[in-house]
Amino acid sequence: MARKVLINDWLSEFERVDKLTVSQLQSYAISVCNYPDLINDLFDALHDTAFHEQYLEKICDQLFKFYRSKEDRLRLFTLMFIPTLIGIHLTNCYNVDKKLYRCVDVLLLSIYNLEIVDEEGEILNRKFRLPSMVRPSIFHEPSSVSSQNSALTEHALLRLESGGGDQTLSSFGPHVEYDVINCGNRMIIMTVLLKVYNHYLSSVPKQSYLALCKMAIKVMRYGSNNCNTKLENSANAENSNFTNYSKFISRKCAKIPLSSEFLVQLLNSVYFCMFNGVENEGFEALEEIYNRAFVNLYADVLMMSMAIKNSLRVNPSGQPRDGPMGISVALSPTSTTFSSATSGVSKAAITNASFRTKKLPDDIPIVTNSSSHPHLTSINEENEEVNEKEKIPKPSSATSTKQASSGGILPVNKIPMLQLLKERKDKKKEANTTAKIIKVRSENGDLIHRSFTETGDANAGVESDTSGISEPKSDYGSENEMIPLNTYTSKKAFNGEEQNSNCSSNTSSNAMVVPLLSSNSESRLSSTSIHQEMNVKLNDEIVCETYK
């Protein structure tokens, strides 16, 4: 009853709000926003379906009035209910009693349409510049730290291509105005509303955080409870005939379809709330969202929720319970051991920064023709041997490209591997020389080889790094067996791609009989992307067919 009284009082202020002067409005806004009992009651009323019939429409009206007032605090008052309102909307969009919930739709849609425009009514399109390490900022100077990190990655290339200017990204908008919420735009509107809510997270009262997490959990779980018991019974009764299930399916089993963009924004809000007092509900919501992403294979949501989970598990980033915002004194031991690690005991350890790649001699001794033949054959034999080995667990892979691709990923057997890898490395050196020989012998084979190296360049970022790593290690390996054993295999496994291209170049030069036609199409496509390389085979088929 008390709840009703408070809400009724609040609703009766409905008329008054309009007539207040600016200063009165301000003081009224402050008093309303600092009235936790009222806020709690309103949340309860919105959660409690029994109240909906009587109050929902009035509350929505009043909230909209607040939202339209010129006082920012009143606007915030409305914004704090966005998660709850979204929850009501989503759980009732198929409700037969749709009329009752129309007021929520109207409120949400009006907030949406007003939030996507600026004061002049222009569609908002907020952008931000993507900072880069290259440009000095108030927080860093590029010269000292970034020099070792200037690898020419695809990203770096992109920046150069765009003229070196600031790369800008959109942080909000542009969004389209809508007249009505329908299935086609529901998720878009809700996602934008959550984004807006996220902008105000620090300004809304904490009760709203709890409401958000509860909404997330409720929306995620919707439909799953209604179905299971019935279905299990039926499954026991009639095991074989699946069509019987459809009898038990009702709309109540339906889950609420949610887009991955919506889930990402929801996760964003949950992450914030988790560190601001609603730890347990936050974890629960995170788990629910993760499960939904897991089952639906949403890579973006998975990636983000796994990042959150990992950062909660691995300590440096702190836990919600470590203190406000997870920033805590707990890091002082890490900092001490860390600094002593750099200055003290492990000075000998090779770090990413201290690591230098050794340059290989430019000239590789040319092998004479007569001696190259046995080498050449031995390479091929061993290569095939390796391929054979790799083939055994995967009988399905038929084409040479596939074989090569699975090759790099197979588990590496450590003990014989070292030996094997050394051999491979030697081979690699020889491969260069053999390539020259092939060039002399056949233009065709050379063409193929070149085309493969070109495609490899698409990955230049990684490969230029890795080729550097693996080379000097081998020298190291002979000096000290202990350390490099691991590193060695690691680099090799990781070098998979590079080796693949070598392997495949070998195999393709073996199969020099391949008609000129296919090699042509390969070299033409190779420059565009790996993606196409994968499909070269398919294209070849077509070409062959056309010529048949």
């Binding site: 900022s137 915002m325 890490t334 002593s340 003290g344 492990s346 770090t351 790094d465 993606h531």
Partner: protein, 800 residues
């Protein structure tokens, strides 16, 4: 360091100066050795002081504080004996401060405070004046110890504590900057844990007292100070923490830009700062967080230990965790911005051997960036190798194979691998769906495979969809796929039943709605189909495929059907234009545009691309046709989504042209084809096909034949072109060749009843009446269940 301790004792002065140098640089072990060489009787206070100091510092350096606690005790003993001498000694203040430090470490905060009081440090700290380096450090430490001791005690004066701690941190940073100035760059000085903690403590103190805004300012102040080699690790932590605070505590509504006025505050106790007009100053919350994270990532990744020897294991894991924490924050921050940056992961590969988390995140980032799907698949396979029990990487790879790479066989292999390793019930249904989907795609795309194999795959698909339903009957997806498979096999009633269940579970599922409309149309219930279509368009006003179906329905149903359909087509062209122009609209309708659902369209698009590249190489001067070349080059640079839209656009033009032909307005149709081929290039097989139709309608059979031949030479799997070619030959009187092409067409798509009917009449003319009648019968049967548009238009690659 070759000087030996075996030779004659060094002169005292030399010894002292050496001690002094080592003290300054923090080589405490060496200090202790040297101090022990000092004659004890000469200056006992000094010796006591030095021994106390070095032992204290050595204690602070040691990792395991408990085992070396004797060091601390000894240090205290030395210092107390030093202090107990005359209090006029110049060492008195220093010794007291050191004593305060040691009390602080052992937890005697009150004693520590007392010592500071006795030391008389306050007389030095009245005015901020330049101090010698060593004194500077002492003063900084006194502030730090005082601040932190007060914090541990009952003192509630947060303001004072914070002032102490900020002074300590300012002084420490300036001290390090001064050292670097004196000794040159690359000198690394270890200031000890007390000062390091003090640097961070002030801001944490502010957060704990609820002043997040002040804490942000404090952190910014720290970051704004010019870095030195000695502060790099601290800066790494601070930049990450500031990013964390902004992400977790400062939403856009309360974020304020960096106040550049602090860069001008200077003094001997204030750190040197970065300032200047050209510096990048974050103007938005996003910019600041990203800047901080990339700085932190840069610094953290430098320190990752690459050595894999067991003695480095702990520090390697720790350094890896440190950098992973930054990666995670980046992912958390970037994902909602839809900014997928994978080059940091690329760099991380150097130290990520067997680290599943980094590989997995790398793979997913690459997948979402939609840049190199084939590479993403390889990464997922590596993740699957690292963790042989996780089905997820296999499934995601399988998803890419289906959605981006058109490799259903590979997808099937991966999904089956996932099935083998899965023990998660929630995922089981999905795995069955993907296995089924991949099998169905193998059947639907491979037009050449042996019949037996085909039916095996088809059975497998249906079986898996049913299994999926059994495992999780409340998911709409298997019902949809089952319905689609059934519909393609023309079991229309069963298909409708399943489609309805799917819609019950997810009333918004567009592919199911589309399927249901087509099913209704194949039962010849055009009215219901159109009604459903219109109802669906209420909810999805810009859904292009629905509009496309609607146009076809209108054509047969309405009075002036073709005119009405033309209007719908016009609306579609408008939608296409909007969708192509803006990014945002793409979400509304471009998302689900998948008109053909067959892959040979994408393949032939690639073919056309290649051909146009040849054309541009071979016939360089023919740049008058530049329009077309740029057109198809534009297609090559587009991503998959816009390629589909592009493809759809072509189909709309074709629809318009066909409608004109049917309306017998040949000239309009002609100009339509010409106009469209100017946009899309003359090499499009769809337009060649269309021209063929046009010629055929005009009765120019020879030209028609050439056009159809051109079309199939680009896309040999175009069933309709083959069909029309066959028919044209038939009309031209060459029945044997007609028979051949019609057979080819049936091989591609046996569900076109027109082809069967043409085949029948060809066989009839050839005198093979028996088979002719069988063909006509088949044509009739197929026609009875033929939908308004082929079921192929309903996308098969549906994951949600």
């Amino acid at each position: 360091m070759s000087y030996s301790s075996t030779s004659t004792p060094k002169s005292k002065a030399r010894l002292e100066s050496e001690i002094e140098r080592n003290r300054e640089e923090g080589h405490w072990k060496r200090c202790l050795e040297l101090a022990q060489q000092l004659p004890v009787e000469s200056n006992s206070q000094l010796v006591q002081f030095l021994l106390g100091e070095t032992k204290l510092e050595l204690f602070l350096e040691s990792d395991k504080q408990s085992s070396s606690s004797s060091l601390l005790k000894e240090a205290k003993k030395h210092l107390i004996s030093c202090v107990s001498g005359s209090n006029t000694s110049p060492l008195f203040m220093d010794a007291n401060l050191l004593l305060a430090k040691s009390y602080y470490i052992s937890g005697d905060y009150e004693e520590a405070l007392k010592c500071i009081e006795i030391s008389g440090i306050d007389t030095v700290t009245q005015v901020e004046k330049p101090l010698p380096l060593r004194v500077m450090k002492l003063v900084a430490e006194s502030f730090a110890v005082r601040g932190m001791s007060l914090d541990k005690g009952d003192e509630q004066n947060h303001e004072f504590i914070i002032t102490c701690l900020t002074k300590a941190s300012d002084l420490t940073i300036r001290y390090l900057q001064n050292i670097e100035k004196q000794h040159g760059p690359y000198t690394v000085v270890n200031v000890g844990p007390i000062l390091e903690v003090a640097i961070q403590r002030a801001a944490i103190e502010l957060i704990e007292s609820g002043k997040v805004d002040k804490a942000v300012i404090q952190y910014r102040n720290l970051m704004n100070a010019c870095e030195t080699q000695s502060t790099l690790n601290t800066r790494q932590i601070i930049s990450r923490q500031l990013a964390e605070i902004i992400m977790r505590g400062v939403s856009k509504s309360v974020w304020t830009p960096f106040d550049t006025s602090i860069t001008t505050s200077s003094g001997p106790w204030k750190p040197l700062r970065y300032f200047g007009q050209s510096l990048f100053v974050p103007k938005t919350r996003e910019e600041e967080v990203i800047l901080l994270l990339i700085i932190s990532e840069m610094l953290a990744s430098r320190n990752v230990v690459l050595d894999r020897g067991p003695e480095f294991h702990e520090s390697r894991i720790q350094s890896l965790d440190n950098v992973m924490a930054v990666y995670d924050l980046m992912t958390i921050f970037y994902t909602p911005l839809k900014n997928y940056v994978y080059d940091m992961f690329e760099r991380a590969m150097k130290f990520s051997f067997e680290v599943k988390h980094i590989w997995f995140q790398f793979a997913m980032t690459l997948m979402e960036s939609k840049k190199c799907p084939a590479r993403a698949v390889k990464l997922f396979e590596e993740v699957a190798r690292i963790d042989p029990h996780d089905p997820l990487p296999c499934l995601l790879a399988s998803k890419i194979c289906i959605l981006e790479l058109d490799q259903p066989e590979e997808a099937l292999r991966l999904a089956e691998k996932a099935f083998e390793r899965n023990n998660n019930e929630a995922l089981l249904s999905k795995i069955h769906v993907i296995i089924g989907m991949a099998s169905a795609l193998v059947v639907e795309e491979a037009t050449e495979t042996v019949k037996k194999l085909k039916s095996d795959y088809a059975e497998k698909a249906i079986e898996n969809f049913k299994l999926a339903i059994k495992v999780n009957p409340s998911d709409h997806l298997p019902y949809f796929h089952l319905a689609l498979t059934l519909a393609r096999q023309r079991s229309i009633n069963e298909a409708i039943e399943n489609a309805q269940t799917a819609l019950l579970l997810n009333p918004e599922h567009i592919p199911t709605i589309q399927l249901l409309i087509l099913c209704l149309s194949s039962l010849k219930q055009y009215d219901e189909a159109l009604k459903l279509c219109e109802a669906a368009l209420e909810e999805f006003p810009d859904q292009l495929l629905l509009l496309y179906i609607k146009a076809h329905l209108e054509e047969v149903l309405c009075d002036d059907g073709r005119e009405v359909a033309l209007l719908t087509a016009k609306h579609m062209l408008k939608c296409c234009k909007i969708a192509a122009s803006g990014e945002q609209e793409k979400v509304t309708c471009g998302d689900t545009v998948n008109l053909t659902g067959t892959n040979y369209d994408t393949m032939s698009l690639r073919m056309e691309q290649t051909l146009s590249e040849v054309a541009s190489v071979d016939s360089a001067p023919v740049q008058i046709e530049g329009m077309s070349i740029t057109g198809s080059n534009a297609a090559s640079s587009m991503n998959l989504g816009s390629k589909k839209l592009w493809n759809f656009h072509i189909h709309v033009w074709m629809l318009v042209a066909e409608l004109f032909i049917k309306l017998n307005q040949i000239s309009e149709a002609e100009s339509c084809v010409e106009g469209a081929s100017a946009i899309f290039g003359p090499l499009s097989h769809q337009f060649m096909y269309l021209k063929g139709i046009l010629h055929k309608a005009k009765g120019q059979l020879i030209e028609a034949k050439i056009c159809f031949q051109n079309a199939i030479s680009i896309n040999p799997k175009h069933a309709k072109a083959l069909q029309q070619l066959g028919h044209t030959y038939h009309l031209l009187g060459n029945h044997v060749v007609a028979d051949k092409y019609l057979r080819d067409s049936l091989k591609m798509d046996a569900s076109l009843h027109e082809t069967w009917s043409f085949m029948g009449s060809v066989l009839d003319t050839l005198g093979d009446h028996n088979r002719a009648s069988t063909c006509q019968m088949t044509a009739l049967q197929l026609e009875a269940t033929s939908p308004i548009l082929s079921f192929n238009v309903v996308p098969r690659t549906v994951f949600e």
